[in-house]
Every structure is written in structure tokens, then in C-alpha cells.
């Protein structure tokens, strides 16, 4: 069934980045590489202290030292069109990680005028 089934473990990241507090620009620049080096993005997993940007093949990039409690996680998530709620993203949660989709695109002729 096309439903919440077991998820197999992910292998090693295709690339990693170590986030330095205050250096969000560098983290965003790293993430921009996903456009070229990963396939169609599928989802983001965000731990307290790291995050994975995962593509359709389940290949992924890892950003270390940046997790959902950090304010700087927001521009990184936005960079890849993550569907998350900025009001609750930093809230603690009784989960290993939070997971979000990243499938949003610009619709066709978004800026068309009648």
C-alpha cells in the first residue's frame, strides 16, 4: 500500500557542511549546490543539531551543527522550498527528527495577467 511504511536507512551523505553559528550565508550557499548535484528534492529531515536534504533517489546532503532549534535553519529550509510552519519549526518535539516535504514549484504562468 502506498502508505506510511518502513523507511530504509540512508547511506552516507553525498556532501557535508559544518555550520558555524552566524555563518548562515555559507550554509545557504552549500544548500544551493543541491540544485545541481542532487536530483529532484524529496524531503528534509531536521534533527536538533543537523539536517539532511534528501532527493528522490534518497541521496542526500548533510548540514551539521544546524538544527530545528536554531533561527538560522529558516533561510536554509526556505532556500529549498520546504513546506514548514515558521511558527512551530523551533518547538521541541518528542521525535528523533522532524520531516518535511520539498515538492513545491512555481505553477505554470504564475505571473500571467488576464
Amino acid at each position: 500500500m502506498l502508505n506510511r511504511k518502513r523507511r530504509t536507512a540512508l547511506s552516507a551523505p553525498k556532501a557535508t557542511h559544518d555550520y558555524t553559528p552566524g555563518e548562515v550565508v555559507a550554509a545557504v550557499e552549500f544548500v544551493k549546490r543541491t540544485r545541481a548535484e542532487l536530483r529532484t528534492l524529496r524531503k528534509v529531515r531536521v534533527w536538533k543539531d543537523k539536517l539532511h536534504i534528501i532527493d528522490v533517489n534518497k541521496d542526500y546532503f548533510e548540514v551539521r551543527g544546524l538544527g530545528y532549534p536554531d533561527a538560522d535553519v529558516v533561510p536554509v529550509l526556505k532556500q529549498i522550498n520546504t513546506a514548514f510552519n515558521p511558527d512551530t519549526i523551533h518547538n521541541p518535539v518528542d521525535l528523533d527528527y522532524k520531516e518535511f516535504d520539498t515538492g513545491r514549484r512555481h505553477p505554470w504562468a504564475e505571473d500571467r495577467v488576464m
Partner: protein, 551 residues
């Protein structure tokens, strides 16, 4: 030598291997080969059409050089001609199958919009013999694509004494590279790879061998496990080769509807289609993916047209042949709504299938009455003064329930069992039936090509599109007839996403699609219109809960 279908002549048939199609991937039949679907009509010569007109289009000279003769002028298209269409070169990547991870769940086969990923199961003993028929040089390449799953191999060995070998194959002539199959695979048994020459040769050969070795062994197919129905040839009524966009949610919906109907009626049924995307991509001359009779009259009158066909079929004694009337939300919620309502009131045995993309997809994205509040469309453009559509969505399922004795279902392709039950229930019902299927329109919704299933699931989880089945035979109260089973947290307002522990509201759904992107400010706060849309969806859910006796 690659074995092909049909007899060899000087000019090979379109249904045989050719220099352009050396492994005969563009051919009739889905799991096994088949000849043309011939028909005895003075106005349509199937062989001439396929050999001359299809050839003209496939070879690129059709539009220029085909004479304007009667065949062309009539615009009739034989059944299944889309089988002969070649899409090998439209995508840069193709899925690769990783048999050791496969569980045989059939999700990939079921969700493909293009009949481009196929499954087969054979007993190990038969399989061993068949592998001997594969040319030696390709034998290892092909045989290692077979999987020993718990579902078919271990269970088969235990129950039948012989394990079922399971295979997933890509038809490279039909795959558009959307990656829907990879996305729905939770077992890492598929991934996208570049179409190198070697990949394409192996893929084409594998698809050819797959077809050559005969059908699945039915003893491994459990008829109660609806998702396994696509292991049977008779369910493949909708062939690959239709002109829909990569990943089109509608393609999957039509394939699954055809599969369920085919599983019960083979090709002894028919289709009346309302103008819309569906009629364009299934009848772009000269390509037709349907193996059953199909007609299209206008945008507004498909249900009336279907009533006429039904009457004639009944006159001919064909009472048991189902008729499906299909159309988009534009045709069924709006332009043909009156004809639809008339059909329900008639009590006639016609089944209606709505491809609900919440927008006029075909004509460039105008708002329909199915469009959600806040959605950015033509006719409800998001600007400074007005943020997208301001009206509320019309709920055709509830409206249909209020018609005399009409079977009604709302479902999505992501809810496979619910979908099949909805369609089979509609077919079993002795009167009019409506199945409304949520379908993603990638360009109009603003989501990636691989997201049809995921977004359909989110639409249900977020109460944007609750699923339901209303069966008038199930009691004398609405609350006995209406089932909301399949919706998460059916007694609550909102479902809580276990991956975030947060309620999944319409606003969360909206965040995931480009059609609502303008409703979020730079800090991600939703607009007042979107808050209204959320309230609207909650009220709609409350209404359904009340009707179902849950509130």
C-alpha cells in the same frame, strides 16, 4: 536474435521490430504481446491505419505527406494505437530496478501514469525454463532483475511448494521520467539513472524479454489483494503512449479506473469522455491509449451522451456492459453539471469518473467551482487587491448524495485500496454512480513531477479533500450509508502528522504547493484568505462528520 511479434515481411509491421525500434518495444500488448485490436467496420481499416497513418506520424512525415483521404478525414482512431508511440527520447533519466530491495508491493506499477513500469510473477521452476529461452549473452543481465520477495517467493514456497519469482520492468518507449515510481517506493527498490546507451539497450532488451516469456502465473495472484490486479494483462486497458504531462495525476487515475473495470469486464465496456485534458492526451491524432470503445462529444454533454449510449446498448441487450463517463472538474462541476445531475436523476446505469484537478487544466488554468479558496488561477489571479479565488469550493460529492439513489465515492490514487473499492463499488451498484478522484496537475498546482501521490495523500490528510464512500444500499439513513473510513483521525478536526507532531491543516497543504505560494509573507505567515480557506475545509469536514454520524 530478438524474438518479435507478428509475421516478418519486407516492410516490417509497426507491431514488429524495425531499425528504429530494434527490440520492438513499441508494440501492442502490455504484459504479453498482442496483435492489433481489429474491428469489422467499413469506415475504419485498422491495419491500414496503423501501418500507414501511425507510421507517417512515427516517422515524422505524416502531417506533411499523408493524403487527405477518407480515413484521415473521419478522425477515427483504432483502439490502443498509443502502444506504437515512441517516447524513448523525451526524458534524460529512467528508473533502475534494485531487485534485492523489492517487496513486490506493486505501488510503482500501480502509480505510473504511463503504463511504463510492469510487474510479473512466475513460479521458480517455470522461471528457470524461461530463462533458458533468453539469449545467453543477455541471460544474466535479465535474470538478475528478478526478485525473491517474501510476498511471492517465501509465501509461495510455503503455500504452493514453489516460490514466485517477481520482476519489475521499465518500458523505455513509454516512460517519461517523472520519478513517481521512485517516489512511491518505500523500499529503495527504484532509483533514477541517466539514459546512457548501454542503459537504454539493456532496458529495451529487458522489456522485450519480459513480454516474450508469457503472462504471470495466476496462482500467485490473490484476487482479494486488489493492488495485484495489474499483474494481469486484462487490466491493462489504458496503454502507455498517451500525451499527458510527465507525472500527470490524471494518467494514473484513468489507468487505475481502467484496470479495476478491466479486472471485472475485460474489454467489454466503454467510455464517454467530456472535453478536457483527458480527451486531448488520449486522442491526439493518431494516438489512442484505450483498448475499449471511447467517444467524445463536447465539454458540456458527456453525461447526456452517455445516457444515449446506455439506452442504445440496453436496446441491444447489452445491459451488463458498463459505461464510464469521464471528465474533469470543469466539465463535471461546472459546464456539464446540469447533464450530470440529470443523469443521476435518471437512475440509469452509467458510472461517472471525475478527474478533479481543481482547475481547468487544459485551457490554461482557469478557476472552476472545484478550485480551493485562495488558489491562484486564471479567472482568480492573485494580485494586490484580491488574493486568488474568493469563493468557496463546491462539493460535488455531497450534492450527488442528495440526488435520488446515487452511489458516490471520493478517492485518490494514493489510497489504492480505497480507490479500487470505490470503482468496483460503483460498477457493482445497479444505478448511477459518481467517483470523484483528486488528481494533481503539476503545472497548475505548482508541484514537482514526482509528487502526484504525495500531494494527493496530503490533500486527504489536511481535509482539503476527504475521501468517502456513500452506498445507498447500506441502510436507510445517510449515516449508515456514508463511510469516511480511510481519512486519518476520522473523529478529530485535524490529523496530527507523526513526523512533526503538528496538526496538518489546509494551510500546511497550501505551503506545499506553488498555487498558494503568494499567500505566505516573507516570514511564512498565511494570509487572511488562507485562514478562511482553512475554516472552509474544517466546516466541510464537520459536515461530512455530521452526515456520517460522527458529530
Amino acid at each position: 536474435m530478438i524474438q518479435t511479434n507478428g509475421t516478418s515481411t519486407k516492410a516490417p509491421s509497426m507491431n514488429e521490430a524495425t531499425p528504429k525500434d530494434p527490440f520492438n518495444n513499441n508494440c501492442y500488448g502490455t504484459i504479453v504481446d498482442s496483435g492489433y485490436k481489429l474491428i469489422s467496420l467499413p469506415v475504419l481499416d485498422v491495419t491500414d491505419f496503423n501501418e500507414r497513418i501511425i507510421r507517417g506520424y512515427e516517422e515524422g512525415w505524416g502531417e506533411r505527406d499523408l493524403p487527405a483521404d477518407l480515413s484521415v478525414a473521419r478522425s477515427l482512431i483504432p483502439a490502443g494505437t498509443a502502444s506504437l508511440r515512441d517516447f524513448s527520447n523525451i526524458a534524460p533519466e529512467i528508473p533502475e530496478y534494485i531487485p534485492e530491495n523489492c517487496t513486490g508491493c506493486m505501488d510503482c506499477v500501480t502509480e505510473c501514469p504511463d503504463t511504463a513500469i510492469l510487474g510479473k510473477v512466475l513460479s521458480e521452476s517455470e522461471w528457470s525454463k524461461k530463462m533458458q529461452t533468453i539469449p545467453e549473452g543477455d541471460r544474466e543481465m535479465f535474470s538478475k532483475q528478478w526478485s525473491k520477495t517474501k510476498k511471492y517467493y517465501d509465501a509461495g514456497k510455503k503455500k504452493l511448494g514453489d516460490g514466485g519469482m517477481f520482476n519489475i520492468i521499465i518500458d523505455p518507449s513509454k516512460c517519461k521520467g517523472c520519478a513517481e515510481c521512485v517516489t512511491v517506493c518505500d523500499d529503495d527498490a527504484l532509483k533514477m539513472i541517466p539514459k546512457t546507451d548501454q542503459v537504454m539497450i539493456d532496458s529495451r532488451k529487458s522489456h522485450r524479454y519480459f513480454k516474450n516469456i508469457g503472462p504471470s502465473d495466476n496462482k500467485y495472484i490473490n484476487d482479494n489483494l486488489l493492488i495485484d490486479m495489474m499483474l494481469k494483462e486484462e487490466t491493462h486497458i489504458y496503454t502507455g503512449g498517451a500525451g499527458s504531462c510527465a507525472g500527470c495525476g490524471e494518467g494514473t487515475a484513468l489507468r487505475m479506473m481502467c484496470a479495476a473495470t478491466g479486472s471485472k469486464y475485460g474489454d467489454q465496456w466503454g467510455l464517454v469522455a467530456a472535453t478536457g485534458c483527458n480527451t486531448v492526451y488520449t486522442s491526439t491524432y493518431p494516438y489512442n491509449p484505450y483498448l475499449v470503445p471511447w467517444t467524445n462529444s463536447l465539454f458540456e454533454n458527456a453525461p447526456a451522451d452517455a445516457i444515449g449510449v446506455r439506452m442504445r446498448w440496453d436496446q441491444m441487450g447489452w445491459h451488463d456492459k458498463p459505461i464510464w463517463c469521464i471528465g474533469g472538474d470543469g466539465a463535471m462541476f461546472d459546464i456539464g453539471f446540469q447533464a450530470l445531475s440529470r443523469l443521476f436523476a435518471s437512475g440509469m446505469n452509467v458510472k461517472v469518473f471525475v478527474l478533479d484537478t481543481q482547475v481547468y487544466s487544459n485551457t490554461g488554468g482557469q478557476a472552476s467551482t472545484s478550485t480551493y479558496t485562495g488558489q491562484n488561477t486564471k479567472m482568480s489571479v492573485h494580485g494586490k487587491a484580491v488574493g486568488g479565488k474568493q469563493e468557496r469550493r463546491k462539493e460535488i460529492a455531497q450534492i450527488a448524495i442528495m440526488h435520488p439513489r446515487t452511489y458516490v465515492a471520493q478517492t485518490t490514487c494514493a489510497h489504492v485500496n480505497h480507490f479500487y473499492k470505490s470503482v468496483l463499488g460503483a460498477l457493482e451498484f445497479d444505478g448511477p454512480a459518481l467517483v470523484v478522484c483528486y488528481t494533481t496537475c503539476q503545472p497548475e498546482h505548482g508541484v514537482a513531477d514526482n509528487m502526484a501521490g504525495e500531494q494527493a495523500r496530503l490533500a486527504v490528510d489536511s481535509r482539503a479533500f476527504p475521501i468517502l464512500i456513500y452506498d445507498p444500499r447500506k441502510g436507510d439513513k445517510v449515516k449508515e450509508r456514508l463511510s469516511l473510513v480511510g481519512n486519518p483521525a476520522v473523529k478529530d478536526d485535524w490529523f496530527v502528522n507523526p513526523k512533526t507532531k503538528e496538526p496538518v491543516t489546509f494551510i500546511d497543504f497550501a505551503r506545499s504547493e506553488g498555487r498558494f505560494a503568494k499567500h505566505f509573507d516573507k516570514d511564512g505567515n498565511p494570509s487572511e484568505t488562507l485562514e478562511r480557506a482553512k475554516q472552509d475545509r474544517l466546516e466541510n469536514w464537520h459536515l461530512l462528520q455530521e452526515l456520517a454520524g460522527l458529530r
